[in-house]
Point group: C2
Chain length 327, copies 2
Amino acid sequence: MRIAVDASGGEYAPNEIVKGAIKAAHEYDVEVALVGKKSLLHLIAGKHIKNLNLRIIGASQNIDFNEHPMEAIRKKPRSSIVIGINLLKEKKVDAFISAGNTGAVLCAALFGLGKFQGVERPALASIISLNRYSPALLLDAGANADCRPSHLFQFAQLGEIYVRNIFGIKSPRIGLLSNGTEETKGNRLIQESHQLIKKSSLNFIGNIEGTDLTQGKADVIITDGFTGNIVIKTVEGLGDSFIKVRSPDHSRHLRGRALLADVGLGFLVKSMDYSEYGGACLLGVKGNVIVSHGRSRAKAIKNAIGLAHRTAEVNLSQLISEVKYEQ
Amino acid sequence: MRIAVDASGGEYAPNEIVKGAIKAAHEYDVEVALVGKKSLLHLIAGKHIKNLNLRIIGASQNIDFNEHPMEAIRKKPRSSIVIGINLLKEKKVDAFISAGNTGAVLCAALFGLGKFQGVERPALASIISLNRYSPALLLDAGANADCRPSHLFQFAQLGEIYVRNIFGIKSPRIGLLSNGTEETKGNRLIQESHQLIKKSSLNFIGNIEGTDLTQGKADVIITDGFTGNIVIKTVEGLGDSFIKVRSPDHSRHLRGRALLADVGLGFLVKSMDYSEYGGACLLGVKGNVIVSHGRSRAKAIKNAIGLAHRTAEVNLSQLISEVKYEQ
């Protein structure tokens, strides 16, 4: 299994990305290709290359967070993002991970790899774990701010394949995130999407509400990318408040994580701390692409490589290609 | 100050509603009119009527949670919701509170009281307190699932009046909830709303993200009622998880609330526990209407009466009527 990692992407690149790659190379049966500034990467990771399954692939350009995605990928063919996507396209790697400019990764994947036939809009699928029973997949987590009902129906199909194959759930329960459980509730997009998904053969449990996210009602949570992004980030913000809790006397280090575990809410940490699951899969493009959080540190990158390993192992993008998508 | 309370509305009506009204009549300088089944209310609250500023107003009908709002208010003119709104219309009370069928309260208010000139859509304004600095007002929290940019602009105007007069903040910071801070981010609704609000004289700080909700960046958070409802309920669901935390040995009672206070996150309880602020104000209708949570118990009702007292004290609906709303 070969995984390419964007070593120039993210707030803590390249140091934390390299650290995460080294950890992953120890932990998983993978070859990690670090894509970035060659000399710098040799300096940081050089001594590990002989002993570990690590490679360095040069990328002389870098795309910043504030660059316009489309322009950036056109102007910078030697950037780590474009080179990483090309490695995937040429089947030189089985998955690509980037914590860099999300828009640029989406554009590069969309135009470099293309979508599978019938897929209208690729979606970002994030794992959230807000209940003590099992994690759930939320999509779209932010790739498509404006959606049509057919997009949401396809997200349901894509999410079902993911959860069935990655989580191993036979008949995933599909829930449509809305402002009420009755099928008449929701905005127009949700009301129309409800009718589309209801007619399908998917295990559709109907609308779910914000309060249901902590109840473990659905395995796949369908939403447009605008709402999905706001939900994910609201949860992340609350998570930050908890994780940064200090001891009352301020004498000890941050202890929020331990505190939550103490009271039996350890499962919440996983969701509220983006580093636990490493990143979101971009479903619908021809290749396994994982978008990590811009603030990813070593642990997040290691976990993203673990997730990439799993998606490549089951050949997720191949499974996605085999489904007929209705439009 | 006279406040009417729907004694038949909510999961724990009438007992908890009456308890809350009694507490409020002790605490605030208000006359509370309980609207509901006369004989039952006399039985429960009768002995308090002499000593406290309490009245009972008969309402022989009741609107259930699952009834169609519009049909229900037409068919049940003797329901507590319709009678309560009529008391407000006839200026017999200064505010009306209901924990009953939200849709029915909205319809009754909209058709019974009417909107102020220029207001296109009344909005539900919820107080949220996700940071240690100050609470914020989020609107629309669920009255309008589908919105136009002009609606969101008016929500900003309505929210500004509320926060300036109820919280006493001179120039409230208005933030537009989006999936990114740049003004090009958001779905079409948000992008267009951004340009509208930007051109106004409001203290507009631009887009804010889900993670910013815990950072205290904005005093007024503008969103459509679909997204707002999902955010509020996601936070509520997480709050339930925390508040229901038991001691590790299960020997003691629920201790989540105390635990959060212990670690300096007491402020989060206020937002994650809907009973703390009592309810959401319906802004834009001709009268002070407060919609409480269907699961409201005595504390929530007492706090809703406190909020109603404050809105009536500053004459919020009068202040709202004095503004010119652009369309």
